[in-house]
């Protein structure tokens, strides 16, 4: 996978610091795909263990974060393929009190997100939370740029329909 455009950070952090810095993001990314808090927590552990084991194969042609996201993605989809659980929801996740958007609409958005497929949730996470460009998402998810554009549009359209 060519992920040259994803090299945001060139610094190379040791594993404990890497864990401290990116574990929450890995958790959120895993949660967006797995839609299960416990599974996402396990994913974080697995991803960092996999990272530690595959450090020698890390060519540093992308940032450590991107490398972690690639490992996370592979792990999560692999997990989805080989497990019986699907779409448990994210209600267990605690909400920040400073959250400004209306509580009711917030719940409905959560409910709407639950109705999406793991791939659609992943796209929403990568675009809305991580703020990646279409090109970066395309490279990370191994899709064409046009595909990403269309899929994001369809996800939004579907979300809008659910929320209506």
């Amino acid at each position: 996978m060519d992920i040259k455009t994803l090299k945001n950070i060139k610094e190379f952090l040791p594993l404990p610091e890497l864990y401290e810095k990116y574990s929450i993001e890995i958790f959120k990314y895993s949660l967006s795909i797995l839609n299960n808090e416990e599974e996402a927590k396990d994913a974080v552990q697995e991803v960092f263990v996999k990272y530690a084991n595959s450090k020698s194969s890390f060519r540093q042609d992308c940032s450590q974060k991107t490398w972690l996201l690639v490992i996370t993605r592979n792990y999560c989809y692999n997990r989805l393929q080989h497990s019986s659980f699907k779409n448990y929801g994210i209600e267990e996740v605690r909400q920040n009190e400073n959250y400004e958007i209306d509580y009711d609409s917030n719940i409905s958005l959560k409910e709407a997100l639950k109705m999406l497929t793991p791939e659609q949730n992943e796209l929403i996470y990568l675009k809305e939370y991580e703020g990646y460009s279409y090109k970066e998402i395309a490279e990370l998810t191994n899709q064409s740029l046009e595909n990403v554009k269309i899929k994001l549009f369809r996800v939004r359209k579907r979300l809008r329909e659910i929320l209506k």
Binding site: Q45, R94, I101, I124, Y129, Y134, K149, F153, R156, L159
Partner: protein
């Protein structure tokens, strides 16, 4: 504009090409429904972002972090204790070895003695071999010296117009006899002369 929702999606992601933006803005200004859809999309975008931002989770797993941070774990105490014990044992063994305090196995000792004897014999053999080499070198030198002397003598004899006995190859008795016989046969065919062995061997006849 048929696919305005796709363009809306691109627009809120800041991915709408610049050359399409003007036309899109004009379309937005003319279409209230599109503006409402845009507002909904923006709200969804912000809502999704806020949802993920607001997620809080306790992930701190001391076992995992300690494993890679290299901090000492509780189990490490056991390994430390074992390390100190093994270090002390190795020091004691080193002392025992240095002062020969322990008695080795008799077979091992015999083996070691034999080994040292073998080494000694090997050394002796090598010394003898060296001596022999030296002797053969000396022999060669002697031979070369003798040869030089012989050659010098021959040279001297040649310069005095003398045929040295040294140069004459020694003939066996049979050869000598054959020579005499052949010469006698030859002389027998010469009618005018009666030649004896003594005359043939003389300097004068050879010269004639």
């Amino acid at each position: 504009m048929q696919d305005y929702e796709l363009k809306l999606s691109q627009f809120i992601d800041n991915e709408l090409p610049i050359d399409e933006q003007q036309e899109f803005f004009y379309f937005l200004s003319q279409n209230e429904e599109a503006r409402n859809t845009l507002a909904e999309y923006i709200e969804m975008k912000q809502g999704a972002k806020a949802l993920y931002t607001s997620l809080e989770v306790q992930l701190d797993d001391p076992n995992f972090t300690n494993l890679y941070a290299g901090k000492p774990e509780k189990n490490n105490k056991k390994y430390k204790f074992m390390f100190y014990i093994s270090a002390a044992a190795s020091i004691i063994f080193a002392f025992l070895f240095l002062f020969n305090e322990f008695s080795p196995d008799p077979i091992l000792k015999k083996y070691q003695n034999l080994q040292s004897e073998m080494i000694e014999l090997k050394e002796n053999y090598n010394a003898e071999l060296n001596k022999q080499t030296e002797l053969s070198k000396i022999n060669n030198q002697l031979y070369e010296e003798t040869d030089k002397l012989k050659r010098a003598e021959v040279k001297k004899n040649k310069s005095d117009n003398k045929i040295s006995n040294v140069l004459l190859p020694k003939k066996s008795n049979q050869q000598k006899k054959n020579n005499f016989d052949s010469i006698n046969d030859y002389l027998a065919n010469v009618p005018t002369f009666v030649v004896t062995k003594d005359d043939f061997l003389g300097q004068q006849i050879i010269g004639n």
